[in-house]
């Protein structure tokens, strides 16, 4: 039987990388802390534009930035549920993308491994960049990881 001697799909198993857990309802996703530029309130959100698949917009650092909302199935929503009251402003270079959610908190479980999304699961457009295997009580569980890049690509695919 062949033994896997390497695992090219492991992005990083460095426990020092911190993740934040975003609640989208029953679904919870992870985002690298370094991707999150700021956490803002959605109290003064403006309505969205279905043309660009945004669910709203807010003023941030004297600029209007778009707010996106994902359903529990990680589909782009054109409106934001009332229980999503905060947003994570994700930043990569000059790109600012805001993602609405119910709650944002540090992810405190021990991460065992990160895997890039398997190729056979990439057939349909997805904002998921990786799958995180983590220790939960006496068992293991999985969380989806989203990054600024993967979310930006996902939005772009919808805007084509």
């Amino acid at each position: 039987m062949l033994q896997a001697v390497n695992n090219n799909s492991v992005l990083s198993d460095d426990p020092a990388l911190q993740y934040m857990e975003l609640s989208l309802g029953n679904a919870r996703i992870l985002v690298r802390q370094s991707d999150i530029f700021s956490i803002e309130s959605l109290k003064d959100i403006n309505s969205g534009n279905p043309a660009n698949h945004s669910a709203g917009s807010i003023y941030f650092n004297e600029k209007m930035i778009l707010v996106y909302s994902l359903s529990e199935q990680l589909e782009l929503e054109h409106s934001i549920a009332e229980n999503k009251t905060v947003c994570a402003v994700l930043n990569k270079g000059n790109v600012l993308i805001s993602l609405a959610c119910m709650e944002i908190a540090p992810f405190k479980h021990r991460i065992l491994k990160l895997h890039s999304l398997p190729e056979c699961m990439q057939a349909s457009a997805s904002p998921i960049e990786a799958l995180c295997l983590y220790k939960k009580d006496n068992d293991n569980d999985i969380k989806c990881v989203i990054s600024t890049d993967s979310l930006a690509r996902y939005i772009d695919e919808h805007n084509i």
Partner: protein
């Protein structure tokens, strides 16, 4: 005539498929499926095996466009090479435990008429001792992303 060992897997109601003996590395009984949102219907679940995350292919869903089943009691752990030629693991839903059979070229046959699209993701087809037409699956192609040719032939 030399024979090769092949696992014959029941992957649907009346559908069988095969992989070489070396490609099937483990059988997981009563696997715990975790759904990944946004993934294709035929591959929307993963299982965890030896701290590896395995995407699971449901052939019933792939071939018959039925709903992906998460009630399969058995999953086969398959070893394959990804697009970077690195060794990876994947899973296949099974209706029951696979059977090992020794096959040779004399058993070669045409693909079943209603599953011509399978040719795009198979290496060849043989007739099993039980009389079933069994495609030998190309695991590398299946787990690295099934081509649009398969889906266009399905229609």
């Amino acid at each position: 005539m030399s024979k090769a060992a092949a696992w014959i897997m029941k992957v649907g109601e009346s559908f069988f498929a095969s992989v070489s003996q070396m490609e099937l590395v483990h059988i997981v009984n009563n696997p715990r499926y975790i759904e990944i949102p946004g993934a294709p219907d035929y591959c929307c679940n993963i299982i965890v095996w030896n701290d590896n995350i395995l995407p699971v292919i449901d052939f019933s869903c792939l071939i018959n466009s039925t709903t992906n089943s998460t009630t399969c009691d058995v999953a086969a752990v398959i070893i394959y090479r990804d697009s970077n030629n690195e060794i990876q693991y994947g899973g296949i839903n099974l209706a029951n435990s696979p059977e090992l059979e020794y096959v040779d070229n004399s058993q070669s046959c045409e693909f079943p008429a209603h599953t011509k699209a399978l040719q795009t993701i198979s290496l060849s087809c043989f007739k099993s001792k039980s009389g079933y037409e069994v495609p030998i699956l190309d695991m590398n192609k299946i787990f690295t992303g099934i081509s649009t040719e398969f889906f266009s032939m399905q229609r």
